[in-house]
């Protein structure tokens, strides 16, 4: 027997009330844990996804930054073009490691839009380490060949070797490769050698955008400044794209944040109320304990221990529940945010688990302090008479 086991036994007196209070804490901590885990995980996954794009910035025609952003994320068409000359200047800029030109075209077949990427394989493939191809990739000078994304291949029933009519002139094109699934938008695209794409769509000498990889991330800023000196070019960095998305997510996050604040306040009021009730019921018993040798200190510690047992077990249950239910919560969150990276947001980061447990302790101390202080300073005589107020 010690103060701790006495506290445990006291909690068994009104089991229903104790369990309800623990559930209240568990809900609040579960929401808190999910929100914090989401916040950290979302930004991490978004950054990872941006990194996997393989380039640091995108040179686009002036006046189209939003289209460019969409283009990066979903594929899309910009009504203005850069030229081969712009590509040459980009390649000549200091700090640029790779500059991969892209021509994007869209056409509609059987009511569904298709997106065509004209690329230089030598420049683009190094930017896409995730690309693995069934069949083979084309070289820069080939014509009438294409590589397609896995989703597209499945939808259209195409395999390496299939020949399809393609482009405004319905020329026969051979599918020479199918990309293995990448989990990104690439799975929906047609990839052609840049020169052949320019020829098919009569865009000789034109480029939609240039994807640039710097030799060092430190040089991204200098490259941006240098490229924007070119009259046609506007630069969109991945950091800007991430920032824009994070701003949009921020509003969803503040909504969730107000939910958690309310949940915590409700659960704190519940805990304090439970404690005050249980202390009130036990006023005479507290007087008895003081009469048989307990100091105010002992009584205070006993009550704080009871509170911490409630909040810590609630916190632990909340964290476990949040981790177990993270799949459901994630589906819900994905529906709420403007852009969802493909990786999972939720992680069982030990630091976050520790933080939530510390929060549970803090909540217990906060709620337990007043009832504990009040019972600790009760005079034994008044307490035995049952005078709580």
């Amino acid at each position: 027997m010690n103060l701790f086991s006495l506290a445990l036994r006291n909690l068994q007196r009104r089991k229903g009330r104790t369990i309800l209070t623990i559930i209240g804490v568990a809900i609040a901590v579960a929401i808190l844990f999910s929100l914090l885990s989401f916040s950290a995980g979302y930004e991490r996954e978004l950054t990872k996804e941006m990194d996997s794009l393989g380039f640091h910035l995108l040179a686009v025609p002036k006046g189209c930054p939003y289209e460019a952003t969409t283009l990066i994320l979903h594929g899309g068409v910009i009504p203005k073009y850069l030229t081969t000359e712009d590509l040459a200047r980009t390649r000549a800029t200091e700090g640029v490691k790779t500059a991969a030109p892209v021509l994007l075209q869209q056409f509609v077949k059987d009511g569904t839009p298709h997106i065509v990427y004209g690329i230089e394989p030598d420049a683009m493939i190094p930017l896409k380490p995730a690309w693995k191809v069934n069949g083979r990739f084309f070289t820069a000078n080939e014509t009438h060949v294409m590589v397609i994304g896995s989703t597209l291949a499945e939808k259209e029933n195409l395999v390496p070797g299939s020949v399809i009519p393609f482009g405004p002139a319905q020329e026969p094109f051979t599918v020479i490769g199918v990309l293995k699934p990448t989990g990104s938008e690439d799975d929906n695209f047609h990839f052609l050698p840049l020169a052949d794409a320019q020829r098919v769509f009569s865009k000789e000498g034109f480029i939609t955008a240039i994807a640039v990889r710097a030799d060092d991330v430190k040089n991204i800023h200098d490259i941006t400044v240098e490229l924007e000196k070119v009259p046609d070019i506007q630069v969109v960095t991945m950091a800007q794209v991430t920032g824009t998305i994070m701003n949009l997510v921020g509003s969803a996050r503040s909504l969730l944040f107000s939910v958690i604040v309310i949940a915590i306040v409700i659960s704190a009021a519940g805990i304090t109320n439970t404690l005050l009730m249980s202390v009130n019921e036990r006023t005479r018993e507290i007087g008895m304990m003081k009469a048989i040798g307990a100091s105010g200190h002992h009584i205070g510690i006993l009550l704080i221990t009871e509170t911490l047992l409630i909040t810590l077990s609630g916190g632990t249950i909340g964290i476990i529940a949040a981790m177990a239910g993270s799949g459901i919560i994630e589906t819900f969150v994905r529906g709420m945010v403007p852009y969802a990276p493909s990786g999972s947001f939720f992680s069982s980061d030990p630091l976050l688990i520790g933080g939530c447990l510390v929060f549970s302790i803090g909540l217990g101390l906060l709620c337990g302090l007043y009832p504990a202080w009040k019972s600790a300073r009760l005079s034994p005589m008044e307490a035995i008479r049952g005078e709580w107020e």
Binding site: M1, N2, R9, I292, G293, A294
Partner: protein, 229 residues
């Protein structure tokens, strides 16, 4: 030397603006090992006196010495130690903790006194009150008299020299009450100073000394074994 020496004890309670004088100058001297009954009509001030003797409440005037140590004017921290080391309390309502077993209830004061939890001592006390076979039971499974015996064992676990009991038999039938008094008598024979408040004059006579309190004063003493100074 007296184990309890009270001189000129007054106690005034404030009920809103009204003042209630519960004790009006009580002088009392109790020797080690005495068995004392305190009797008197309701509202006479018996509980007020017991609370002061037990250091649960401070007198408004007068002085109290316990075991030669001046108690009046001491801070709560020191009063806690005096209660813990010198005094055992028994209450009318038993005040057993329902989720602790009988044995654990008896050991409760050890948690606060810092003495290692001593099962052998608890068992011997339960044996003394005739309940060694109920150590693992919960208080809810006991009769009123048995519960009060547990409370008495609890009051003794810190080895106090003084046992204070305010109407310990108030909730018990007369046969059971008689048994409790028998127990007090045993303790008195073992050298413990026992002071018991009761409404039952017949039971009170079993003590060696009966003090009657009326209207805040010591009215009469019977069997006073010592000559007043």
């Amino acid at each position: 030397m007296s184990i309890i020496e009270a001189t000129g004890i007054c106690k005034t309670y404030h009920r809103g603006r009204e003042e209630v004088c519960a004790l009006k100058g009580v002088d009392l001297s109790i020797e080690p090992g005495e068995f004392v009954s305190i009797v008197g009509p309701s509202g006479a001030g018996k509980t007020a006196l017991m609370n002061i003797l037990g250091c649960l409440d401070a007198p408004s005037c007068g002085t109290l010495m316990i075991d030669g140590v001046q108690v009046t004017g001491k801070g709560e921290a020191e009063l806690v130690k005096i209660r813990r080391d010198h005094i055992g309390f028994v209450f009318q309502q038993f005040f057993l903790i329902p989720t602790l077993t009988v044995g654990e209830n008896v050991g409760l004061p050890l948690i606060f006194s810092g003495i290692p939890y001593d099962r052998a001592r608890i068992d011997s006390l339960l044996d003394k009150v005739g309940l060694s076979h109920r150590a693992g039971h919960l208080p809810g499974q006991l009769s009123g008299g048995e519960m009060q015996r547990v409370a008495i064992a609890r009051a003794l676990v810190n080895k106090p020299r003084i046992l204070l009991a305010d109407e310990p038999t108030g909730n018990l039938d007369s046969v059971t009450a008689d048994g409790i008094y028998g127990l007090f008598d045993d303790l008195h024979r073992q050298g413990i100073t026992v002071i018991v408040v009761t409404h039952n004059r017949e039971l009170a006579q079993r003590a060696g000394r009966v003090i009657t309190i009326r209207d805040g004063c010591v009215e009469r003493e019977c069997g006073y074994p010592h000559v007043s100074p």
